[in-house]
């Protein structure tokens, strides 16, 4: 009964959020809030997607940039080849991201801890190197992108992208929420606490990790797909920038990974701080703040913001109080 009411509240909240975003695009004339807001929404989607594998399963993925860049370049290649609309680009990016997640998972998920993390960095660099040598999408120099005309209810392309990214956030959050409450989530949590014990009690660990890696990868690639249209430009070193990895990881861990709301809170907090700092100071200070916050939280508040807010998560996810 309780759970049922929770669901109603969640879906009502999601609907209110989307309606608010949609009406904002119709009312506000200035484009800047949408420019800044898009980046924050993108970070929410990335952090939530990251935490499906990194948080629930405890596999620290340094390769967010690999999936992000693959999303960007799937969209770019598809747009250049066929001029496909944005929806198709995003769907294709999700499919490619999921396939990549499957491959990455098969290759790396048997490794534990640091080996998995290093292997994901390795994959990012290797894919980036291939894209750098891929002439069709501009190689290392990058490629300019001409936005197609904007669609009906929106009067500018950035506003439309803002709405699309909000939609992706809702999708990512509802999938993360579903996983958290399902058998998959409980299995992942079991294998995070003790993989051998989970395996022994009949949890299909490899299968669950593969599913988590595929879903996480698909969501990250989908969130990355509109980035080329947003910047009207794509190049390998920024699409595969390691700062996407550190951002997603930091936001998820700072927010707390025991509940889907953690990465959302972390991304909103850090994303908006970053937007303020980028405007007022510089983008380097930005990364510095991110790094220092990450280290402070990892050392001082292992369960993140939600652990500070609600001690019960500390009990549930940590094992020891």
């Amino acid at each position: 009964m309780m759970k049922h009411r929770n669901s109603i509240v969640f879906w009502a909240g999601a609907a209110v959020f989307l309606i608010a975003v949609l009406s904002m695009t119709q009312i506000v004339r200035n484009e800047y809030p949408f420019f800044a807001g898009y980046v924050i929404l993108q970070f929410i989607a990335l952090a939530v997607a990251w935490s499906i594998l990194g948080g629930y399963a405890g596999y620290v993925n340094f390769g967010t940039n690999a999936f992000f860049g693959v999303g960007v370049y799937t969209a770019v290649a598809l747009f250049k080849a066929t001029g496909a609309p944005l929806v198709v680009q995003i769907a294709a990016a999700a499919v490619v991201g999921m396939t990549l997640g499957f491959g990455v998972g098969l290759l790396t998920l048997r490794m534990r801890g640091i080996f998995f993390s290093i292997a994901t960095i390795a994959l990012a660099i290797i894919i980036e190197t291939f894209v750098m040598n891929w002439r069709f999408v501009g190689g290392a120099a990058g490629i300019q992108i001409q936005r197609p005309p904007v669609m009906a209810p929106f009067d500018s392309y950035v506003k439309m992208l803002f709405f699309v990214q909000a939609l992706l956030v809702v999708i990512a959050v509802s999938i993360a929420r579903y996983i958290q409450n399902s058998r998959i989530g409980r299995g992942l949590q079991a294998l995070r606490d003790d993989e051998l014990a989970a395996e022994c009690t009949g949890v299909p660990t490899l299968k669950l990790k593969l599913v988590a890696c595929m879903i996480s990868g698909a969501l990250i690639s989908a969130a990355g797909a509109p980035a080329a249209m947003y910047l009207q430009y794509a190049d390998p070193s920024s699409a595969f920038n390691l700062s996407y990895s550190v951002s997603a990881l930091a936001m998820a861990l700072i927010g707390g990974t025991a509940h889907w709301i953690g990465p959302v809170l972390g991304a909103i907090l850090l994303g908006s701080t970053q937007q303020l700092l980028a405007v007022t100071i510089s983008s380097e200070v930005n990364v510095l703040v991110l790094g220092i916050m990450l280290v402070l939280f990892v050392v001082g508040a292992p369960k993140g913001i939600i652990g500070l807010l609600r001690p019960r998560y500390r009990l549930r996810a940590g094992g020891k109080p």
């Binding site: 990194g54 405890g58 620290v60 340094f62 290759l107 790396t108 490794m111 801890g113 640091i114 080996f115 993390s117 290093i118 292997a119 960095i121 390795a122 994959l123 660099i125 290797i126 190197t129 291939f130 750098m132 040598n133 290392a140 606490d193 390691l242 550190v246 990881l249 930091a250 861990l253 380097e284 200070v285 990364v287 510095l288 991110l290 790094g291 220092i292 990450l294 280290v295 990892v298 050392v299 292992p302 940590g318 094992g319 020891k320």
Partner: protein
């Protein structure tokens, strides 16, 4: 054919240099099991220290590297103490956060370097930089030879230290069986802390070699994540002689690919080899 031979020779020189930059990680990660992702960032930091000393006081880069070594030793002691108190002692969930911790540290160092020195490439000046020896067809830069000689000496010295001295054997003992050491009345944490200090101190010299071989930039550590971990994993965790062999294999592979396919494929070599080793032979060449 001459071209290929030249590539192999340069690859061996490069490989010994890679051994010197990886040997610290071989101790900290290989022997002590610390997920030290920030190792390459420490390395680049050392290079900038050497650059600063060379720029302001005109000290020879190798001497400058030697000068910052004690500082790095203390830095290493401190870093391990923080890591131990916050993660290793608490156990269980700590592994995930330990990785994130070092990842964060690496980024902080990177940004601090950018804020202090800017994003431009930096290099050092010394009498042996810029000249080269000619052997008929191909030539070898003297900076490569200097780096090769110092790197080889450094790696061998550390290998001897770990196998012959009392403290070195204690470090290997702590890697093998911490509990046994504790039962014999030794304090494993202090030995590990000392070992981490040594592993970090070595980076003083290695950082000097890094900036002697080529100019450095703040984000250079990213490429070296692949190289150092590739070498250490391929060597077999904690094996110093394996480190030298693995580093030479990597150096020759990189050098050949560079010659045959061009520079744009070079960054992926170490990472591809790392993945290959992890998939096929995770215990490395001389695994413990």
């Amino acid at each position: 054919m001459d071209l290929l031979l030249g590539a192999v020779v340069l690859g061996v020189l490069l490989g010994c240099f890679y051994a010197a930059v990886s040997v610290g990680l071989s101790v900290s990660f290989g022997l002590l099991d610390v997920p030290h992702v920030a190792h390459p960032a420490f390395l680049v930091l050392a290079s900038y220290g050497v650059y600063q000393l060379n720029e302001s006081y005109d000290i020879d880069p190798l001497l400058a590297g030697l000068a910052i070594t004690p500082l790095f030793f203390l830095f290493g002691l401190l870093a391990y103490r923080v890591y131990y108190e916050t993660f290793e002692r608490r156990g269980s969930d700590a592994a995930v956060r330990g990785i994130a911790f070092f990842f964060g540290i690496a980024f902080i160092i990177e940004v601090l370097i950018i804020l202090q020195f800017g994003v431009d490439q930096r290099s050092v000046s010394a009498t042996y930089i810029g000249k080269s020896w000619r052997f008929g067809e191909f030539r070898i830069p003297i900076r490569q030879l200097v780096a090769f000689a110092v790197a080889l000496a450094l790696t061998l010295l550390l290998a001897v230290y770990l196998s012959k001295t009392f403290m070195g054997r204690a470090i290997r003992a702590v890697a093998q069986d911490e509990e046994a050491l504790r039962l014999m009345g030794a304090n494993p944490v202090r030995i590990k802390q000392f070992a981490f200090g040594i592993a970090t101190a070595v980076l003083g010299i290695a950082g000097a070699l890094l900036i002697i071989v080529a100019p450095v930039e703040p984000t250079l550590d990213r490429a070296y994540i692949g190289r150092t971990f590739c070498v250490v994993v391929m060597a077999g965790l904690g094996s110093i002689s394996g480190t030298l062999i693995a580093a030479i294999i990597l150096g020759v592979a990189e050098s050949i690919v560079l010659t045959l396919f061009g520079a744009s494929w070079a960054p992926a070599i170490s990472f591809a080899m790392l993945l290959g080793v992890l998939a096929v032979r995770p215990q490395g060449l001389l695994g413990r």
